[in-house]
Every structure is written in structure tokens, then in C-alpha cells.
Amino acid sequence: MQLTGAEIILECLKEHGVDTIFGYPGGAVLNIYDALAKHSDDIRHILPSHEQGAAHAADGYARATGRVGVCLATSGPGATNLVTGIATAYMDSSPVVAFTGNVGGPLLGKDSFQEVDITGVTMPITKHNFIVRDVNQLHNVVRRAFQIAREGRPGPVLVDVPKDVTVNKTEYRRQEPLPLAEHNEQVTADSLEGAIEMITESRRPFLFSGGGVICSGAHRDVLEFAERVGAPVSCSLMGLGGFPGNHGQFCGMIGMHGTKASNVAATQCDLFIAVGARFSDRVVSNAKRFAPDAKILHIDIDPAEINKNIKTHYHIVGDLKYVMQRLNERLQNSAVEPNQDWLQEIAQLKKAYPLTYPKGNGLKPQYVVERIYELTQGNAVIATEVGQNQIWSAQFYKYQEPRTWISSGGLGTMGFGLGASIGAQIGRPEKQVFNIAGDGSFRMNCNELATAVEYNLPIIVVILNNRALGMVRQWQDLFFDRRFSQTTIDRTTDFVKLAEAYGATGLSLSRTEDVDDVLMQAMNADGTVVIDCEVDPNDKVFPMVPPGAAIEDIITEE
């Protein structure tokens, strides 16, 4: 049948099972919005306050559900407002398809009103992008965009559609989504045997589990593997939820704000097994002193991650779930037995250096996070902003399931959390969603409270309000002689009133003994809640690896 470009976009979305998109109207996408109005039974459109919110929401939706998140913006400023959100998704390998309108073909390249070269702008922050110059190409481009976003290591794809392409008509025929390649060509019996040999020889194996475990859905297989091998397990920030946080072998995060147990175990192990992780600088710190006695076995779907940041001794490139299942089959018939002495050693370290914080003297942010964990029994979805709020949320909530932890790891985007929690709540309506924020991050994109209220989303925003840009302030405190340059924001904004002005419930919290009551009140309330928690700007994130140090030289307190 003959359809306009705008209708073809929507039909292709339906082919891929997309029932929700996050977008913001504008001149160049008028035709798409006109078509959306006719398809409102099939595709729900969520209107944020700002295009950045749409991008973060699409990303949060993708992270919470594993499905592709879709956002839509108009040309020019609409498109550039998506950029931070797209870069955030790119750094954390989140499958997002972003559509932008552009000026009509004849006006392209003429500096027309609201024209921007968004494919040029987003080239380094997308897996791939397209500009569609002919309506006859549109259906194939959209299908290919979804395929690229999902395949292998996921990531964002942008499709730029000039206005005339949305009006022009062509023949459309429904198609099933393109198949995804499996990327397991390199997983051979020989390559698996090589890994098994290393594991058999190892007396002190250590497992480092990254975000790839979650992308691949390999969490159960990784758990089985860890138990068979007898390896202490640490996660990267992106890997949280990929391994049960209350499991006996779990040692907490590794790296800059990891635990003493993880960092020491990584340094003392004789086999460092990294699965679905990329050895970020926040993990490795000083590369020369990282796991000095260990052989490094790296398993990842992206061949470019092998030997990029850390030289490996052995690697397998393939889909993690597939690889771990093949390894588990072989381990079942092998002589590999957990080394109880090694596990005991690490258990002692865990006992000697638990994650802790100074008690007394006012409300502690770590305590608030701990209570959220206890009161939700670990069943919530936690989105965070970036900084101290993020690391405390990573440390003091024990994530049990994949896709319950949603945080900007690679790009470290302040202002990510509220939009992301909106996407997560829409994707997982049955879940209690929290956005744990700092006052600085919350202020960046708090306009999205309007969106949460508008769609009656029961998100609880917990602002750990220290009236400062806490993480930068912490660095100034520790490494810049306490010169708190521009980090003591201490503005007079009343977040409770602000919440109420947006139509949300605003609660304040300043006493430790009120934490449970206030959290319960928020969880039982209808609609969006903001809790303004008064905390001390001198509270710090520990443990911490000082810049340039080896990870074993982690500082556990001030």
C-alpha cells in the first residue's frame, strides 16, 4: 500500500514491537506527529519537558526492559538536545533508536531555520547513523537501525529524516524484523578448552562481571560458572545486578570506589576472568599494577575491547550467555573444584573490611540507601544521578536482579536519573522505581518532574541534599587543600515546595529515626514523590583509590 514517510516510520516501529516512544514535537516532525495522532491506539507517545529528558527516558526504558528505547525530536535544537542522552546510551551500550526531523531536502546545507547536521554531530556517539534522502529508502533504514542497535554489543542509532521525506509516499509492505547475527563464530571447542585449561591450573581465580552480563542475559550462567570455579566475584558499576548482591562469593564493586576485598582479591588472584567488561580507567586505575600476578582471561562480544586497555593472556569473543553455557558444560565434566582456602581468605577480607560509614551526627546518606534496600526487599528499580549519590546507591543497595540498577556509568551524566526513571517506570509499571539524586544533579533536569506527574508515575525521587556538588567537593577536600571552588551551591530552593508546585508530593527528612516512616509514606503515596533528605556536605564516599594509585592501595576512611 502507498504510505507517507511519516506513516512508514510508525509502521516500521510496529514491526519491531515498539508501543511507546518518547518525543517532543516541532516544525520538522509535524507530519510524524500528525501520523502519531492516527496511530495513538498502537503507539503511546510520552511528552517530556525537554528533549534531553526524552533521550534519557528512552535509555532508561531500554535498560529497564532490554527492549529498544525510541525517542523522537525535531530538527536543530530538538536534535542537539538529544545529544547528551545519545552519548550516555553509547558509553553504556544501551540500545536506543533516535529519530530526528530535518529541514526539507532542498533546504539542506543552506543554514536553513532550525537546520543542524545531526548525523555529523552524532557520528562519534552512535553505533551508526543515517540521513534518509529518499522515501524509498526509509523502511530499510529504519529496519537496519533497529538491527544495528540490538545486534552484538548494543548501542544507539540515529535516523535523521528530512521533512519532505515524511510527506512523500511510497509502497510499504510489512516485514518481520531482520535477524540478528550471533557473533559466536570464534567460540570453538579449542578456544573453550584453552579457557578451561587456565581455570584448571588456577588456584586463586577471580571473576569480574560487567554490563555485558546484563545485555546478554547471562546472569544465571555467570552465577553457575562462579560457583563451579569457586571465584570471588566483583562487578563493575555497569555490572551491578548481574550477580546477586547478597551471594556469599560477591565482594562488591571493584576499582575506584570498590571494596577492599574486591580490590585486594583482584590484586592477589592468579587468574582474572573478565566477562562482559571493558577495563575502564575507573576499574583499572594504575594499569601497570593491576592484577600483577594474574593471567587475564577476557570474554566479550566486542573484539575491539580485547587488549584495548589491558593486555590479556587469553580471550574468547562471543555472546556471553552462549560462551558461559559452553564453559559450564565443560566444567561439569572437569576436575575443577572450588579452592575453599582462597574463598575463606577473601571471606575474611570481607569481614575485616565491610562497607561502612561513620554513624551518629545527623542523617547519613548511606543509611537512607540501606533502608530503601531493606524496605523494598531489594525488589525496586534504582535509577541514580551521578556523583556521591550514585556511588552510595551502588554500594549500599544489594542488587539481586539484572535491570534493577540504572545509572550513567561511562559518560557520568548528571541529570540522567530523573528522565531514566521515567523511562524505567513506563517500561516496568509493576516495579517501585526510585531516582536517588544529589541536589546538584536533581536541579539539572528537575523539569521532568512535570512529566512524572503528568503521567501519574509513582516514582520516588530521593534527594540526598548536602547543598554541595558532593563528589567534586570531596576531591577538593582530599586533594585540593579544601579549596571548595564553586561546589558549595547552598541555594535556597525549597525542594518540597518545588515538588508541590509540580503537583508531586514533597516530603522532607532530616532525622535518622524518621527514615522508615518517610520512606513508607512515599511508597504508599499515590503518584510522584520527592523526598528532600538533609545530609552533611562533609560525608564522603569511601573506600576510594587515590588518583594514579594501584587498586589495592584503596583508602577505606578519612
Binding site: M123, N140, V141, I148, E151, G152, A181, D302, A304, N307
Partner: protein, 187 residues
């Protein structure tokens, strides 16, 4: 400079469409890879172009360059062309000061290098010369004393020796030039 840093010639098959040069060039600049030259042109198939890139780096960097190129969706294939099994050529155009007195001397050198004079003016000649980089450098050195007014090089282009090819007959592209059947390794 690191003594392990070497010059390598990469041949890259790409989908012949808008933006592909910018994607490849952008990859080199944002990841800080050194590039000596890049030349590009269409192959015997008009939907596929071939880039010849001369890059510098140690082995680890070269491994990354190849892998990162492989991740670009528009890149079909990347191969290294080592000197022992490849032919390299580059074209240079040189405009040299030449009056009636020394024109024949210059012409003699050009003949020895099997180049050609393609334009003559009362006080200058323009020489065309093809060869590998060392031949071109040797020629340019001999022209220096006469005074070089301007010089332009195309950058290296290269093929494998013998009957081996990069193999583009089996590649299928759909009508929109997005490849079918290929499985890019992504990031």
C-alpha cells in the same frame, strides 16, 4: 618516538556513500591514531570504494585501528598490506623552476625516473611521476636544487602482489547500500 612504532599500509573496503570518509577520518582523529596518508576511490564495483591508509603505530595500536575500523558499519573489510607481498604506488606532481638553460637537465632526470613533463612554461615545468614512496622522495630531493614551486602527492595506493585479491565479488549490498549478510562487530 617509540622504536616499536612502524608504518603500516591498510586497505579498507567501504560502502560508497555519503559520510563514509568522514566516519573513517573521524575515527582516526578522535582516537588519536597517526595517519600519514589516506587515498580513496571507487573499485570495479561502483557501490564499493577502497581506501588506502598509511598509519603509524606500535603493534597494539595497529590492532586497535583494525578492530575499530571493523566496527564501523560502512566498513566492509580491512586488510594489512605488508611491503613484502604488496605493490605500493603514489603519484606526485612537481612544479620546478626551469629556464632554457637547465630544462634539458631536468628532463634527463625525469626520464631516468620514468616520469613525464606534462606542462612547460618559460620559467617552469610540471613533472608527473609515479612510484613507491622512496622513489618519489629520491626524485624530489634531486629537484630541490632547481627550486620547487609547488608539489602535490596523492598519498599511497596499494594492491596485493600475485593473484591474491581483497575479494569483493561475494559482497552483497542491498539497494540502499546497507549491507546484507554482514555481521559487524560493534560498539
Amino acid at each position: 618516538m617509540n622504536e616499536n612504532v612502524n608504518r603500516h599500509v591498510l586497505s579498507v573496503l567501504v560502502v560508497n556513500q555519503t559520510g563514509v570518509l568522514s566516519r573513517v577520518a573521524g575515527l582516526f582523529s578522535r582516537r588519536g591514531y597517526s595517519i600519514d596518508s589516506l587515498s580513496v576511490g571507487v573499485t570495479q564495483r561502483e557501490d564499493i570504494s577502497r581506501m588506502t591508509i598509511v598509519a603509524r603505530g606500535d603493534d597494539a595500536t595497529l590492532e586497535q585501528i583494525k578492530k575499530q575500523l571493523d566496527k564501523l558499519v560502512d566498513v566492509i573489510k580491512v586488510v594489512f598490506l605488508p611491503p613484502e607481498s604488496s605493490v605500493y604506488r603514489e603519484l606526485v606532481l612537481v612544479k620546478v623552476n626551469a629556464d632554457a638553460e637547465n630544462r634539458s637537465a631536468i628532463s634527463g632526470i625525469v626520464d631516468i625516473f620514468r616520469g613525464g613533463i606534462i606542462d612547460v612554461a618559460p620559467d617552469a615545468v610540471t613533472v608527473e611521476l609515479t612510484g613507491d614512496q622512496s622513489k618519489i622522495e629520491a626524485f624530489v630531493e634531486l629537484m630541490q636544487p632547481y627550486g620547487i614551486q609547488e608539489l602535490v602527492r596523492t598519498g599511497l595506493t596499494a594492491l596485493q602482489r600475485g593473484n591474491r585479491t581483497i575479494g569483493l565479488d561475494d559482497i552483497e549490498l542491498d539497494e540502499n547500500y546497507s549491507e546484507i549478510g554482514r555481521t559487524p562487530h560493534h560498539g
